[in-house]
């Protein structure tokens, strides 16, 4: 009888094209799913829909121009990406920047991180089905973007960093507004917990979903909050401090469960850490120049250079091979999202489509960052 049933009532695996235009893929990522009913059997990731060959473009751009191109990678951590190129050039040219520059850069880094994480929080809620969170996330993000706008004139692609300092000095309201936003966030982040984190449906959707072990996380080269959810200590701010991160005392957010909820908690905790970092620095901005004098045409010395920063999504690296000209000979960006996405198949195997969406949003992919 059983044989008869399996013979006669055969089920069939089928393919489903998720994307490139799909609400859950956050841009133009195409996932080719092999499904058994609703159960995911395989995920093929197809990239290239937003490939702009930015690295090749950088080989025809001066170092000052490269900064502008890095905005277009992970646009939610534009400031950190800019900073990576600036730090690299400053390291190569032995330019020593003063504490004012370092501290302002760090504060802006952390503000960017918060604004990126509140957006992620809203989008995650929406992917799980709670649409209201999206608006909540954007409310806080708008306030932070207002500070950016006042400081450097742009809200998303900031280009506030230049080699040897900052493009403009901070606005006179900067300190006050930053403090205001911190008090605002301290009131609102507990609200986030009430609305989403402590919701039983939300927890059931994330706990024990998309588990990835420490060994696998290291093997796949995961980084940033995604890896820290599996218990990998990989915060560049701790391991290779840059700018003012050696002046502050903060905790690296690490959870060891390795599931989607751990990754969620890491990001929530990172927001609190960012608030604490900004609080430690905001009153310590010394009076000094906002820019160190540099040559009009910047030429890096012959050699290989690497600079890593902790962007919102993880370890962002810039590698430059210079032959002494004003253009780099070779340039490579190491983007956090690319490595994180590779683990998707491992995480989602055997789970449902709904889980795949949840995993994708806790990995926090930004497609222009993956597909350069």
């Amino acid at each position: 009888m059983k044989e008869f049933l399996t013979d006669q009532l055969k089920t069939q695996e089928y393919f489903l094209n998720m994307g490139p235009q799909h609400p859950a893929t956050h841009g133009v990522l195409r996932l080719l799913l092999k499904l058994d009913g609703e159960i995911v059997r395989n995920v093929d990731m197809d990239l290239g829909y937003i490939h702009r060959s930015i690295e090749k473009m950088c080989e025809r751009a001066t170092y000052k121009q490269i900064i502008h191109l890095t905005d277009r990678l992970d646009y939610l951590s534009a400031h950190m990406n800019n900073e990576a190129v600036c730090l690299l050039a400053e390291k190569a040219l032995n330019i020593e920047v003063n504490d004012r520059i370092k501290i302002i850069r760090t504060i802006m880094d952390e503000l960017t991180r918060i604004s990126s994480h509140v957006l992620w929080w809203g989008v995650t809620g929406m992917d799980i089905g709670a649409i209201t969170t999206f608006m909540y996330g954007f409310r806080e993000r708008e306030l932070i973007n207002d500070i950016f706008e006042e400081t450097c004139g742009t809200r998303l692609t900031m280009n506030y960093n230049v080699i040897g300092g900052l493009r403009y000095d901070i606005h006179e309201n900067f300190v006050k507004r930053t403090k205001d936003i911190l008090t605002h966030l301290k009131k609102k982040l507990p609200e986030y917990d009430k609305l989403l984190t402590n919701n039983i449906i939300f927890q059931k959707r994330l706990i024990n979903i998309g588990v990835i072990s420490v060994e696998d996380a290291i093997a796949y080269g995961l980084n940033g909050p995604t890896a820290r959810g599996s218990g990998v200590s990989c915060d560049i701010r701790k391991t290779h401090p840059y700018s003012a991160y050696d002046m502050v005392d903060f905790e690296e957010a690490i959870f060891t469960e390795g599931d989607s909820f751990a990754r969620y908690k890491v990001r929530i905790k990172e927001m609190w850490e960012s608030i604490s970092i900004i609080e430690q620095l905001i009153d310590k901005i010394p009076n000094d120049e906002h820019k160190v004098k540099t040559k009009a045409v910047i030429k890096l010395p012959v050699g290989d250079f690497l600079q890593r920063v902790e962007a919102s999504r993880g370890d962002f690296g810039v590698y430059v091979k210079s032959n002494g000209q004003k253009f780099p000979e070779r340039l490579k960006f190491r983007s956090p999202g690319f490595a994180n996405l590779t683990a998707l198949n491992k995480m989602a195997y055997g789970l449902k489509i709904a889980d795949l969406v949840a995993i994708l949003s806790t990995i926090d992919v930004v497609v222009p960052d993956i597909d350069r």
């Binding site: 609703e38 709670a130 649409i131 608006m135």
Partner: protein, 350 residues
């Protein structure tokens, strides 16, 4: 169920034509009136949903077209009417076209059973509640067919989810209704409302009635495909689910029917638990048509709770949805029916 105005119309028509033709004319008039109610209800509830969503999300919502944006949904409906009806080439044409009518017809048929007040009640039969549940369960077919006939994998997944979800949760809705019928002792809707003159059923039946109410609200949310049970059209997973391939008026049918179903579920909740058109403590019983006011107020209250759910909760996963129904709601429901029966038998009702 006919009072002054209706009697007047009846006599006016009798003066104009023979009796059997009057009968048919009246049926047509009632049908047209209910079509009107259907459209207005749908449009108003869409507007309400958008305003309430905006209220939860500190936005303004539609506020430009007409007073407080009331005509925004009318404008949207006009736009949808004027749009082209597209469809996939390899769709099962017959089923694809017929599917929306299942949803809209059943919603309309169920609507005819709803008493808006003592006077306004089109169709009052002795198996009213049974008829209502049977008819509204046919509506699933419309969604199921849409998922199947569209020839789109997203629609198909949505359709399959509907089949699973609606059939499961219909049990809970049905059994919550049965619990209250045990207490009321009748299936006729007008009688159920009348026996609540001494106290609403949620008060008369106290503990089991409150449990039944909670189960009814949960299962009712699932029946009307709203968050946290909106797996059928889960935007972030399936795009638009079963109605991905529908456009223009065909899509609008689904959209309107969804909101009318919301109204139906809320009305049944009000009839079963909150005394239908009856005013609290009988304060306005003497005034004709006052029941309409109370009924609408109560239904809007229940609808607000449903909308509150929608804009607060995240979505279930399909297996969690089934676990909730078969492992929790259904056993609780069964025990609850026995409890209610015992209470009625022992005379413990208030």
């Amino acid at each position: 169920m006919i009072l002054n105005i209706f009697t007047d119309i009846h006599e006016l028509l009798l003066g104009l034509m023979p009796e059997n033709i009057v009968h048919i004319t009246e049926l047509v008039l009632i049908a047209v009136a209910y079509l009107g109610i259907f459209a207005i209800l749908g449009l108003f509830l869409v507007w309400l949903e958008r305003r309430i969503a905006a209220f939860f999300q500190f936005r303004l919502g539609p506020n430009r077209v007409g007073p407080m944006g009331l005509f925004q949904t009318v404008a949207d409906a006009l736009k949808l009417v004027s749009k082209e009806l597209t469809g996939t080439e390899k769709a099962d044409k017959f089923l694809y076209k017929i599917a929306p009518y299942f949803v809209i017809t059943t919603a309309l048929m169920s609507l005819s059973l709803i008493p808006f007040s003592y006077e306004i009640h089109a169709f009052d039969i002795n198996i009213g509640l049974f008829f209502l549940t049977s008819v509204s369960s046919v509506g699933v077919l419309g969604i199921f067919l849409a998922g199947w006939a569209s020839n789109n994998k997203y629609s198909l997944i949505g359709g399959m989810r509907t089949g699973i979800q609606m059939i499961s949760y219909e049990l809970s809705v049905g059994m919550a209704i049965v619990t209250m019928v045990v207490l009321a002792g009748t299936l006729q809707i007008s009688e159920i409302v009348e026996i609540q003159k001494d106290g609403w059923l949620i008060y008369q039946g106290h503990i089991p009635a409150i449990i039944a109410f909670m189960i009814f609200m949960i299962a009712g949310t699932a029946e009307s495909n709203r968050t946290p049970f909106d797996l059928v059209e889960a935007e972030s997973e399936l795009g638009a689910g079963f109605h991905t391939e529908y456009s223009g008026m065909n899509f609008a049918y689904y959209f309107l029917a969804e909101f009318v179903n919301l109204f139906l579920i809320s009305s049944v909740a009000v009839i079963l638990f909150f005394g239908g058109w009856l005013s609290p403590f009988g304060i306005t019983d003497a005034i004709p048509f006052a029941g309409l006011f109370w009924f609408i107020i109560k239904v809007l209250g229940v609808i607000f709770i449903f909308m509150w759910f929608r804009w607060t909760f995240p979505r279930f996963r399909i297996d969690q949805l089934l676990t909730l129904e078969w492992k929790f709601l259904l056993p609780i429901n069964m025990v609850n029916i026995v409890l209610m029966a015992l209470m009625v038998w022992l005379g413990l009702t208030l």
